[in-house]
Each structure stands twice: as structure tokens, then as C-alpha cells.
């Protein structure tokens, strides 16, 4: 990237920022007011927390594709990994191992709470999955959990389960008239089911994003 | 032109004989091809013109073969001029054929000669029969291109050169003829001779047709190929070349110029002028030649001048044409017979040398050519003079002076010929050649009497003196020249062609050099 394009990029960036700021300052009010609609339909969404309702019900389709995006990232990392790369064993850290053993149950508990709280206040499958993944990474760094080589059948099932459940529910609900059209009565339970599957799979996937990559390359 | 009542009338026979007259020579030519039938074909070849002779002599005047789907609507038939031309053409080919059988007795490439001569013969006979311009041109082209084979038969260097010049000029002539015929046919609205005879094509068309056929007839400046081609060809071929093939051009004029219907004074005048030039030019250059056959060639140039006069007069004053036509026809007959006899005689002389009986044999047609009274030539000349005299003012008296002078010139030329023949050394016996030649010379001198337009009796003495005087004077001058031989300037045969040829060769070399440089440049 020679000097000229560098300078050009900066100049364009600054100019664009300036015009944007000016534009935003005299931006009129929005014509459509969605929060009202959200509030109005919150009752049938099966969850109290509006964000989770939007996330899993009103715009559940985004979330489905979003999980696929995550899976995709994992898949690509697997292709880069190369099946033959050796798995590096990690030297044990006694102090860290001790702490890790103590912290693990707490982490799992925390994840469970976050998963459950999603329905009422900010939380949900993604946050819970992230916490679980963090736990796994901690274990690996402590030397208790080796880096993952090519995922075996069970691990692959774990990774894909959440997504498959979500997909199955979405397809199943077609009978109701459209994709992801939860019957108001069952909405809550179905969302819970999906969230559970997601928590498990996302935990594994996010952990995998780290553990599949860390092994020393051949 | 002879009565027709006793001719056969059955259409099937006429059609068959018309086709046979052309088909028979072509069949013989094809028969030459396979080895098995070659000997038989060579034997029969001299008799090729017999069916044509039968047609000319026996068939009724209105015999016609209509083939609308052939070429552009072909019509083969016999009219008065056609019959006359067919007759002397067939006769000349017959004589040349018989002569050739002896002449080629031990020639290695006999069959090649016969093939080309039969093709030329078919073309020549076809020209006489053609009643429409497409078939006329087909036979004319066949004759021209096949004659090339005869010209280059000896395969010598001069033969190739003569052949090349002959071909170039022939092609130029033919293409001009085609262009002319196109315009004529457009004006006439049809391709049949009958339509063209009564049409008034543009002067350009008439000019093109005249020039196109003029190459074959040997008009001055268009004659360059003639003195080269005739001598190099074998004797029977040159006899035919000079004798009848030149007449094909003349016949073309008679067919495709609106003679006797429309007047073209300027073209008529030029033709008359060219005729005059040809007469004297032919004699002048002929005298300067030392080869027997070249002299004869130049004599042909000069004699064709006479016929050109006739046609020119026809164009100039159409009213005179009914008189001129038979005269021109008779003249053509006479010249064909005399010239071919002379050529055949020259062939014998070249072999046997200048013996007395050979000179005597040569003298007979020579005198006829000169127009000595009571010879065919005299009849033809007087008939022609009768027509020409009636021309309007400037021409009548000009010709009155020119014709006797021309007769004088011809006599001088003929004496030159005899003198040259006399000095020829004897090489080998040629018994087989003489009988057909002598028979032909005799027939040649008698036949014109059969076609005399008007019985010259009772002779008016002024006409007699006018005819005999120049000949007598010519003989005296020849005797004087023989006694004190004056050095004649040596003009190469083909006269003007030499500078033209050199120019063309230089041009071609320049083009090739340009090409090579362009090739290297790329």
C-alpha cells in the first residue's frame, strides 16, 4: 500500500466522517416506530425480555443464519487445520490447574444462570455459550484440556446439534403457516428448547474456534 | 448460287447430317485417345470433312437444326454464304488431310497433330454452320485454341514464340468480339443471326466486332501473329491456317455486321483504308522476306485486304451489298483454294527442291492469285471490281487506280516466290505428297468457275486489258529484278511485333523484380 493510496484513504475517511456528522446532526425523526409494535406483540412472543423476543421470535430468522455464520467460521478453520497436523501437548501449570479446577463448576453454574435469565433480562444462549467457551479455554491454558485435532463424530454432533434443533423447529413450525411461527402457547418452551441446544453447541463452537487453531502447526 | 430442288428434304436426315458434320471429326479426335483405336482413327482422320462436304453439297437450302435449350438458343443451318464457306472449308480440310497423311508418315507425335487438327477442323466447320452468336463463338473459340496446338507442333523455339504471340492476340481478339457481340445482341434484342442482320447496333458495337474478328482476318496492326504462326506450323496446318481459318473471321463479319441494312460510313471508310494498306503493306514486306512460307503468309495479308475492301464497301454503302456479297464469297473461295495449293506446293518444293514441274505446279495458283484472265482470281477480282466501282465519289476512282497496282504487286510477290522456290536445294523424294497437291491445284483453278456470279462472256476488252496489263508489266519488272538483283532491306518476319514484344518483356521483368523486393522486404 504505497504512500499515495494511504494518504487518499485517510483523506476520504476524514471527509466522509465530517459529512456524516453533519448529516446526522440534522437527521429528522424516524417515520416508523418499532418499539411500540414490539411491546404490543411481546405477550405472544413467549418471553418477557423484549431483546430476546426480537432476537428469537420477531427476527428469529437472523439468529438462525447468524449461527450458521459461526459454524461456517469453524468449518473454514478446520479446512485450514489440515488433517495431518500433530496435536501439541501442553506443559502442566500446577498453580493455574488448581485454580481452574476450582473455577470450573462456578463457570458452568454461571452459564446455566445466564441461559435461564435470557427470557427475563439480558442474557441468553450466546452469552452462556461464551462463558462455557471461556471455561474450556481456561482449562486448555492450564494444561488440563489438550488442543482439539480433527473433530470426531461425537464432537461434530455436539457442534452441529444446536443449529439442527433450531432448524428442525423452524421447519416444523411451517405447519403454523410460516417459518418460525411459534404458536403463542408453546412459544416460550420452544424458545427455551432452542436456547438450550444453542448454549451447548455455541459453547463447543466458540471453544473450537480457539482449540482447533492453537495446536503448533506442523 | 446453284439450285436447291434436288436436295433431300427429310428433317431427320438433315438433322443427322448436320450433327454428323461436326460430330464426326470430334468423334475421331476422341478415338485417337485410347491406344487400341489410335491406328484406325489416324487412318480415317483425313476423311473427317466428308460429312461436312455432304452437307454443303447435298443438303437443301433451308436445312436447320433448332436446339433452343443449348447455350443461348442454338440454331445450326445452311444459308447461301454458309454453304459456300462450308464447301471450300471442307474441301481445303480434305486436301490438307490427305496431304498430311503423307507428310506425317514417319512423324513421331502424329496423333497429337491429328487431335489438334481434328479439333480445329470441327471448330472451323461449326463456324460455317452456326446461325447464332453463342454457337458461332463456341466453335470460333474451339478453332482458335485448338489451332495453337498446330502452331506449336514442331516444339521449336520460334514455334513457342509464335504460339505465345498468336495466343495473346487471339485472346484479345476473342474478348473484344464477345464484348462487341454483347452490345450487338442487346441492340438486336436476340442472339440469332437473323435478328442481328436487321438490327442497328451502336457504332462502338460494330467497331468492337470488326476489331475482334479483324485479328483473325489480319487487318494491319492486328496481323502481327500471322507471318509468325503460319510458317512455323507444319505445311498442311499452315495451308489450312492461311486458307480457311482466316475466312472464319471474314464469315464472322458477314454474319454479325448489319451489312446491307444499316450504313456506318466512318467504319466503312476505315475498313476500306485498312484494306488498301493491307494490300500494299503485305506485298512490300513480303518482297523483303527470304523464307517461302513467310512470303505466302504476307501474300495472305495482302489478299485479305481485298476482302476487307468488299466488307468496307458494304458498310459504307449498304445498297451495294447484294452485289458485293457474292463477289466477296467468290474471292474467299478463290483465295482459299489458291493459297492452300501454294502452301502445299511450297511443302513439296521444300522437300523436292526447285524442279521445273514443281515451279509449273506453283505457277498455276500464283497466276490465279495475280488475277491473270481466265483464272479464278480474275473472275473474283472482276466481280469485286464491279461492286467497288459503284462506290461514292472519292473511293471509286481511288480503287480504280489501286486495284491494278495491287495486281501488279501480287505478280511481283508471286514471281519473288517462284524465284525463291527455284533456288531451293533438293533434300528428299516426296512422291507421296505430289498427287494430292497436284489434284488439289487442278480442282482449285476449276472450282471458281462453278461459282461465277455472272458469266464474263462477252468480254469487254477494256476490262481484259485492265486485268492483263498489270500482270504483264509485273512479269517484265520481275524479269528485270531477276537480272540485276538489288539488295532488299531484311525485315524480320512479324515486323512490328518485335518492338512490342521487347516492351512487354521489359515490363514483366520489372514487375517480377518489384515482387522479389516486396517479398524480401516483408
Amino acid at each position: 500500500m504505497n504512500r499515495f493510496t494511504r494518504g487518499l484513504a485517510v483523506a476520504v475517511g476524514v471527509a466522509l466522517a465530517a459529512t456524516l456528522v453533519a448529516a446526522l446532526l440534522e437527521l429528522p425523526a424516524a417515520a416508523v416506530y418499532l418499539p411500540g409494535a414490539v411491546a404490543q406483540h411481546l405477550a405472544q412472543s413467549g418471553v418477557e425480555h423484549p431483546v430476546t423476543a426480537v432476537l428469537l421470535n420477531f427476527r428469529g430468522w437472523d439468529t438462525l443464519l447468524e449461527v450458521a455464520v459461526l459454524l461456517l467460521a469453524l468449518l473454514t478453520l478446520l479446512t485450514l487445520r489440515g488433517s495431518e497436523a500433530p496435536v501439541a501437548e501442553v506443559e502442566a501449570e500446577p498453580l493455574l490447574q488448581g485454580l481452574a479446577r476450582k473455577a470450573l463448576p462456578l463457570i458452568i453454574l454461571m452459564a446455566g444462570y445466564l441461559f435461564w435469565a435470557g427470557a427475563y433480562r439480558p442474557g441468553g444462549a450466546f452469552q452462556a455459550g461464551a462463558v462455557l467457551a471461556a471455561g474450556a479455554v481456561l482449562l486448555h491454558l492450564a494444561g488440563l484440556l489438550p488442543a482439539w485435532a480433527v473433530p470426531g463424530r461425537l464432537l461434530r454432533l455436539g457442534l452441529i446439534l444446536g443449529f439442527l434443533v433450531f432448524l428442525a423447529v423452524a421447519a416444523g413450525l411451517l405447519g403454523q403457516g410460516a417459518l418460525l411461527q411459534y404458536p403463542p402457547a408453546l412459544a416460550g418452551n420452544l424458545i427455551l428448547l432452542i436456547e438450550a441446544g444453542l448454549t451447548l453447541s455455541l459453547g463447543l463452537v466458540l471453544a473450537g474456534l480457539f482449540l482447533f487453531v492453537t495446536g503448533r502447526q506442523a | 448460287m446453284g439450285e436447291t430442288h434436288r436436295r433431300t428434304r427429310i428433317p431427320a436426315v438433315t438433322h443427322a447430317s448436320l450433327i454428323a458434320s461436326l460430330g464426326w471429326p470430334l468423334a475421331l479426335m476422341l478415338a485417337l485417345w485410347p491406344a487400341r483405336t489410335r491406328r484406325l482413327a489416324q487412318g480415317l482422320a483425313p476423311l473427317a470433312p466428308l460429312p461436312a462436304l455432304w452437307v454443303a453439297a447435298v443438303l437443301s437450302g433451308d436445312a436447320v437444326l433448332e436446339l433452343p435449350s443449348v447455350l443461348l438458343g442454338t440454331r445450326l443451318g445452311l444459308d447461301a454464304t454458309g454453304r459456300l464457306f462450308l464447301l471450300f472449308t471442307a474441301l481445303t480440310w480434305l486436301a490438307a488431310g490427305l496431304y498430311a497423311r503423307a507428310y506425317l508418315a514417319h512423324e513421331a507425335r502424329r496423333s497429337v497433330f491429328w487431335a489438334f487438327s481434328l479439333a480445329t477442323q470441327a471448330g472451323n466447320l461449326g463456324v460455317c454452320l452456326a446461325q447464332d452468336l453463342a454457337s458461332f463463338y463456341s466453335f470460333y473459340a474451339l478453332m482458335t485454341f485448338a489451332a495453337y496446338g498446330l502452331v506449336v507442333h514442331t516444339r521449336s523455339a520460334e514455334a513457342w514464340r509464335a504460339g505465345r504471340i498468336y495466343l495473346v492476340m487471339a485472346v484479345l481478339g476473342e474478348l473484344t468480339l464477345v464484348a462487341g457481340l454483347m452490345m450487338t445482341a442487346y441492340a438486336a434484342g436476340g442472339t440469332q443471326v437473323a435478328d442481328i442482320q436487321v438490327s442497328t447496333p451502336s457504332p462502338l458495337a460494330v467497331g468492337l466486332v470488326t476489331a475482334g474478328l479483324g485479328v483473325k482476318v489480319g487487318l494491319p496492326l492486328l496481323h502481327l501473329w500471322l507471318p509468325l504462326a503460319h510458317p512455323v506450323a507444319p505445311v498442311p496446318a499452315s495451308a489450312v491456317l492461311s486458307g480457311v481459318m482466316l475466312k472464319a473471321g471474314l464469315l464472322g463479319w458477314l454474319r454479325f455486321l448489319p451489312l446491307g441494312y444499316a450504313a456506318y460510313p466512318e467504319i466503312g471508310a476505315t475498313l476500306l483504308l485498312l484494306g488498301l494498306i493491307a494490300m500494299f503493306y503485305g506485298v512490300a514486306v513480303g518482297l523483303a522476306q527470304s523464307d517461302l512460307k513467310v512470303v505466302l503468309a504476307y501474300s495472305s495479308v495482302s489478299q485479305m485486304g481485298f476482302m476487307t475492301l468488299g466488307v468496307g464497301a458494304g458498310l459504307n454503302a449498304p445498297g451495294l451489298w447484294p452485289v458485293l456479297l457474292p463477289a466477296v464469297g467468290l474471292y474467299a473461295l478463290h483465295h482459299a483454294l489458291a493459297k492452300s495449293a501454294l502452301f502445299l506446293g511450297a511443302g513439296v518444293a521444300l522437300k523436292v527442291g526447285g524442279r521445273a514441274w514443281v515451279l509449273a505446279g506453283l505457277a498455276l495458283p500464283a497466276l490465279a492469285l495475280a488475277g491473270v484472265p481466265f483464272t479464278g482470281g480474275w473472275l473474283a477480282k472482276s466481280a469485286l471490281k464491279a461492286g467497288l466501282i459503284a462506290l461514292p465519289a472519292p473511293w471509286a476512282d481511288l480503287l480504280g487506280v489501286a486495284l491494278p497496282l495491287a495486281a501488279l504487286g501480287t505478280t511481283l510477290l508471286m514471281s519473288r516466290l517462284l524465284w525463291l522456290a527455284h533456288r531451293l536445294p533438293a533434300q528428299e523424294a516426296a512422291q507421296a505428297l505430289t498427287p494430292p497437291w497436284l489434284a488439289w491445284t487442278a480442282a482449285g483453278s476449276l472450282l471458281p468457275w462453278g461459282f461465277m456470279p455472272a458469266w464474263p462472256w462477252p468480254m469487254d476488252w477494256t476490262g481484259f486489258t485492265l486485268a492483263a496489263g498489270p500482270v504483264f508489266l509485273g512479269l517484265v519488272l520481275a524479269f528485270l529484278a531477276w537480272r540485276w538483283p538489288l539488295a532488299a532491306p531484311a525485315i524480320p518476319p512479324g515486323d512490328l511485333v518485335v518492338p512490342v514484344e521487347r516492351l512487354l518483356q521489359a515490363l514483366v521483368r520489372a514487375r517480377l523484380r518489384l515482387n522479389r523486393r516486396a517479398a524480401q522486404g516483408r
Binding site: A22, L72, T79, Q176, G177 | -
Partner: protein
């Protein structure tokens, strides 16, 4: 809504997601067979959707049953039906091709993850063609982008990884711009659903919306590799294995073009109108520059990749010509379909040629015509469509384009179109000429599975035969737009 179960639009997205996941579980062997079966079903669904549309016109499918501003809508109209048909029509033969292509031993590793990646890619495309929600389009664009990057990296070599990285960075930058655009639009109008946005964005629009439109269009142009942003395409498409390059060149770049077209016909009609001239000029220069590079490319797949850059230029020529009579739109659709089929055939044929000669340079092809005549014939046929010679679909596209340009009196584009097709003839015949040369003595050719040749031939023949029957496609395009 009784036959909701049979809703083809929904299943067109669910099915590929499903078989991608199962392929992830089942591994390459069974995964391939499953993929091919599913793709056959998808093609059927696409055909049924197209037939359905021609009878009953454009249709909405509100996901979750909530309807436009709140929920996300899946809208199927003529344009999306055409794109869906093209995607399934190219994916099926390429899947068959990939199964044979990856059957070789040294491709073992790449084959394991090819099928799930391809599955997600096709799902992303189907979702993108059907979605009518701008943010959802962002997610599908990302899904598509990452899948494409993954497929580019499947090759595993250093060059492929560098190309994948560069492609990823460009893609992320573009998506970032697109996202900011969506954010501004949401800020300005409070909704991201295209159907509700369309009436709002007309008339006096605030500056922010103009900037949003600019950002989104530039982002999408970058993803479609229009001229200034084309540098990532040749290494990415050129380096990848043959079936991957086919999918990328034939389909992936078309998705972002589809989005540009959708926005130009929908909410951003006014904005694209003003920028049409610039886009047209960029397209024209892409045609010339791409073809020029293709003429000079040494390696066969680089040549075909540069040809993509050139042919995409034709797609952007339609913007200055968009008019009521829809000629330019029809030309665009035909060009997309013709190029999709022909480019897939070219890459498939290129794959076979490189495997037969063992070398990837154009010079290395000398004398290959004798060995794999069917592939040369396929390459030639596809070349006919790329050059826009009759009787191919490419020719119909060029014919309509020239017709539109003539009707609007914009002569300049015609010169570019003609010169473009002549240059295209230049590089196509450069390969054919090389193949027709006599094989040098030392050249030895490996045998190639017949199936690969037949796939290339089928794709090329489709692109040419479509040239004889464009009426249905045009009729379908007319639905709902």
C-alpha cells in the same frame, strides 16, 4: 395457507442448510451423494417456484408470521426466481463435477470440508435472493462471504490463503460499509424492511440516506469486484480448485450484483439514477481492462478469472440504460444467466484441461484437442456464449443491450459492447488455437474421468441452447417487478 407445508421458498433455504449440516456430520463420501440428491430436489423446487410465480405473481412469506416492519419477509418475484433457477442449475452439475474431481487421492483433505461449505454457500445465496429485509441481507451477505472465503482457502496453498485473506478483508470492509448504511437507514426511517422503505425513500431524502445509499452501493460493488475493487478476484477465483472457482465466478459475484439491482429498482432508485453514468463507465472500463488482462494472462485459470472481471462489466452497463421498457433489465438477467452457465463451463473445462496436461499455463495446452475433444468442444461452446456470438444466450443479452442503447440513443455503450466481444473472442480463441496445435513429442496426457468432460459440455450446451428459448426467461422476469 393450507399448503404452507409446500412453500418452495422456505424449503429452498432450509434444505441446503440441512444437507450442509448432515454432510458436516456424515463426511465427504455420503455427504456428496446427499448433496447431489438434495440439489436435484432444490432444482425441482426452484422450477416449481418459477411456475407458481408465472401463474400467481410475486408472493410474500412473512417469517414468524409478524409481517413487514417488525418481522422479516421472504419475497419471491421474477428477478429472484431467475436467480434461484440459475443458482440451482449451476450448483447441481458442479456438485456432480466436484464429486468426481475430489475423488482423487491428493484432494482427500479438501473434500472433507467442501460439501458443508458449499451447502452453506448455496443456502446463503438462496436466502439472499428471497430476503426482503436489509439487515437480514447483511447477515446473508456475511454468510455468503465467509463461505466463499472458506471455499477459496479449501485449496490450502500459500497463494490460496493469501487470496482468501485479501478477499476476506475486502469483503469485511464492504460489509462494514453496508452495515453502517443499514444503521443510518434505520436511524432515518426506523425500519429495515425494503417493502416499507421503498415509499419512504422517495422525494426529498435527508443527506444521511444519500450517504447510506452510497456506502451500501460501494460495499456491494466491491463484493461484485467492479473495476476499482476487482484486484482480489483473479487470485481468489484463479487459485481455487475448479469446482470452487466455478461456483464463485458463476454465482457468488452475481449475488451482490443482484442486491445492487434490487436496491436500484427498489429504495435507492433515485440514488442509482444519478450515479448510473459513473457505474456505466466503470463497467465499460472493466470490460476493456479485464479483457486486456485476460489476453495477457499466462495461466489458464487466471485468463478465465479475468474474463469474469470483463463480463461483469457488461452487467453494470445496464444501469445507465434502465428504462420503462425493461429491455436493459432483460439484458441484465440474460447476461447473468448466460455468463453464469458459460463461466461455470469454462472453469470446469479449464479444470479438465489442467488435469489432462498436468500444467496450468495456456502454452502447456498444445495438442490437447486430440486427447479431450469433448472438453475443447465445451470450452468452445462456452466461449461462444462469452463472446456473445449467436445462437447463445450471451448473444441475446448483447442483442437486447445494444437494442436498449440504440433506443435511448446512447451510442457509446455499443462501441464498448462490440469491442468487448471482439476482445473476448481474442482470449477465447487464444486458448482454442493453442489446443488445436500439434502436440509436442514430449507431452504426455493423464486420463481424465469422462464425467468431468460431460459436466462441462452440459453447462456449455445449456448456455448456448438457452439462446434459442429466451422467451420464458423474459416472461418470468416480468413477474412482480
Amino acid at each position: 395457507m393450507t399448503e404452507a407445508w409446500l412453500e418452495p421458498a422456505a424449503w429452498l433455504i432450509i434444505l441446503p442448510l440441512a444437507w450442509a449440516s448432515v454432510a458436516f456430520l456424515a463426511g465427504p463420501g455420503r455427504g456428496a451423494r446427499l448433496a447431489i440428491l438434495a440439489l436435484v430436489a432444490q432444482l425441482g423446487l426452484a422450477l416449481e417456484l418459477a411456475a407458481d410465480l408465472t401463474q400467481r405473481g410475486a408472493r410474500m412469506h412473512a417469517v414468524g408470521g409478524w409481517g413487514a416492519p417488525l418481522g422479516i419477509d421472504l419475497m419471491a418475484d421474477g428477478l429472484s426466481a431467475v436467480m434461484l433457477l440459475l443458482t440451482q442449475a449451476v450448483a447441481l452439475p458442479i456438485a456432480v463435477y466436484a464429486q468426481a474431481y475430489f475423488a482423487e487421492t491428493h484432494h482427500r483433505h479438501a473434500a472433507t470440508w467442501f460439501w458443508p461449505l458449499a451447502g452453506f454457500l448455496l443456502a446463503a445465496m438462496n436466502a439472499l435472493f428471497l430476503s426482503a429485509d436489509l439487515f437480514n441481507l447483511y447477515v446473508t451477505l456475511e454468510l455468503l462471504g465467509l463461505a466463499a472465503v472458506g471455499l477459496v482457502a479449501v485449496g490450502g496453498g500459500t497463494a490460496q490463503i493469501t487470496a482468501a485473506l485479501r478477499y476476506l478483508l475486502v469483503s469485511l470492509l464492504a460489509s462494514g460499509g453496508y452495515l453502517l448504511g443499514v444503521a443510518l437507514l434505520y436511524g432515518a426511517y426506523g425500519t429495515v424492511s425494503m417493502t416499507t422503505l421503498a415509499p419512504l425513500a422517495v422525494g426529498q431524502t435527508p443527506l444521511a440516506v444519500w450517504i447510506a445509499a452510497g456506502l451500501m452501493l460501494v460495499g456491494l460493488l466491491a463484493k461484485t469486484a467492479l473495476l476499482p475493487f476487482h484486484f482480489w478476484l483473479p487470485p481468489a477465483h484463479g487459485g481455487a480448485p475448479a469446482p470452487v472457482s466455478a461456483l464463485l465466478s458463476a454465482l457468488v459475484v452475481k449475488a451482490s450484483f443482484y442486491l445492487v439491482l434490487r436496491l436500484a429498482l427498489g429504495p435507492f432508485a433515485m440514488m442509482t439514477g444519478t450515479a448510473a453514468g459513473l457505474i456505466g463507465v466503470l463497467g465499460a472500463s472493466a470490460i476493456l481492462w479485464g479483457a486486456w488482462q485476460a489476453l495477457r494472462a499466462q495461466r489458464l485459470k487466471q485468463l478465465v478469472a479475468w474474463s469474469t472481471v470483463a463480463q461483469l462489466g457488461y452487467l453494470f452497463l445496464i444501469f445507465p440504460l434502465l428504462a420503462a421498457d425493461g429491455l436493459a433489465l432483460q439484458a441484465g438477467a440474460l447476461q447473468v444467466v448466460a455468463h453464469g452457465l458459460a463461466k461455470a463451463a469454462l472453469f470446469a473445462a479449464a479444470g479438465v484441461l489442467m488435469r489432462a496436461t498436468g500444467r496450468d499455463t495456456v502454452e502447456g495446452l498444445a495438442g490437447v484437442a486430440g486427447r479431450v475433444p469433448l472438453t475443447l468442444f465445451a470450452f468452445g461452446l462456452a466461449g461462444v456464449s462469452i463472446m456473445g456470438l449467436p445462437p447463445s444466450a450471451g448473444f441475446l443479452a448483447k442483442w437486447l443491450l445494444i437494442d436498449a442503447a440504440l433506443k435511448q440513443g446512447q451510442w457509446g455503450w455499443i462501441v464498448v459492447i462490440i469491442v468487448g466481444s471482439l476482445l473476448a473472442a481474442g482470449y477465447i480463441f487464444r486458448v482454442l488455437r493453442q489446443a488445436f496445435l500439434l502436440a509436442p513429442e514430449d507431452s504426455h496426457f493423464q486420463p481424465v474421468p469422462r464425467r468431468l468432460e460431460w459436466v462441462a459440455f452440459v453447462l456449455a450446451a445449456a448456455s448456448v441452447l438457452l439462446g434459442l428459448r429466451g422467451a420464458e426467461l423474459v416472461a418470468l422476469l416480468g413477474v412482480g417487478s
